[in-house]
Amino acid sequence: MINMQPYQNPTYFLLIALTLLPVVIANLCEKKIYWYQTLISFGFLLLSFGGIKWHQGIALIVYVVLEIILIKLYFNYRLRSNNSWIFYLTVFIAIIPLIIVKITPAIYGGQVSIIGFLGISYITFKIVGMIMEIRDGAIKEFKLWQTIQFLLFFPTISSGPIDRYRRFIGDYNKQLSREKYLDLLEKGVWYIFLGFLYKFFIAYFFGTLLMPQVAQNALAHGGLSWWLVAYMYIWSMDLFFDFAGYSLFAVGTSYIMGIATPMNFNKPFAAPNIKEFWNRWHMTLSFWFRDYIYMRLVFFIMKKKLIKSRITIANLGYLTLFLIMGFWHGVTWYYIVYGLFHACAIIICDAWLRFKKKHRQQIPSNRFTKLFAIFLTFNTVCFSFLIFSGFLNTMMFHHIMK
């Protein structure tokens, strides 16, 4: 059987266009054909997790079955009682598979875990979000079929954007008026074509045409060189246009299906500071970390009055958030340093914002300072991506091998 990875080649897009046509027509008649949507979702999942990737398909099925049992058990428990330790334990059990998948390559020299599959992180984020909202009493009903639809929504299964259960279910059950659907459809198609430009032209230009030669030159030169600086910018551009392009496909496809999956990027390189950057870059991930880790941790510390200073609490929150994010990317020194780098950057940013608030009169603010802020933020971010890229690691090994 054939295997096709999401949004990689023209055939995949052709298949999306053809199979979604009945969905479009139905929505224009203000109807939903749930059975058909489920059928094509199953088809696309089979395409990505079948064929030569069948072992990933098995891993996905086992994972989803076990996690849904866990969610259901916790939901039933929560109806009766609300012990914090049971909650922590449930979250821990939910992330065990992800932890194994992330740690395995670090222990066995890059070997991939057999329980892993494409998109395991993103499903885990959705599940943990659900468990936390069940604890808060925000999710009041457990519906098996809708949970499956939410977790396995095919347009976003491989790399997000990370949607939220209640938001998704709201869209899934709602019948849009023709005008509203047309608006969504128009945007969806536009996003997909913008995605083509991002991923298959701009990212191709940076990543495939420029990058290999620049990387080679930087390696040949060794140490600090202009080639390394060029590599930093090229890699950053490639990362953005590749990932933003993919995200546009995922959001566009969702829109066509009448699901308003949240956007992932909002002009991140125009951010005037690091804090604002994280409100614009990989937004569904950073908002997930903000809402489910940072705010909860801060809430817990403040409520229990564990630490007095608000600044210390905020900084501790940032360190926790970005360290976890670093480890989540993978257990390598450069991902963890990347996390620490951003934690420090945002702590400094916060200190500066406090200073600015106090000395508003003395600090100039004009077009030049605003441009300078964007310039500084952009370069800080690109430098962090150079760490993230692992290229420094490659250079070190290259140097040792010589």
């Binding site: 936390m132 909202e133 808060d136 009493g137 925000a138 804090k275 903000r290 809402d291 940072y294 705010m295 909860r296 801060v298 809430f299 403040m302 409520k303 608000r310 609490i313 905020a314 929150g317 914002l353 608030k357």
Partner: protein
Amino acid sequence: MKEQIIEILQDLTGSDEVATNLDINLFGAGLIDSMATVQLLLELQTQCGVDVPVSEFERSEWETPNKIIAKVESLKA
């Protein structure tokens, strides 16, 4: 209730703008961040007796003083 909330916001943001412009976007203007949000939720809990779990906090529903007042009043009712 209204005065109480505005007072909390003045304390949190250190700005009087929240009292004069009740439609100011607190997040957009950089007056409130996640940290201040948590403080706001805790203050609402202790001072107004409304319990808002973090997952019920949808930014777009809480972004202006007016929206916060309306939200708290609806939760109180």
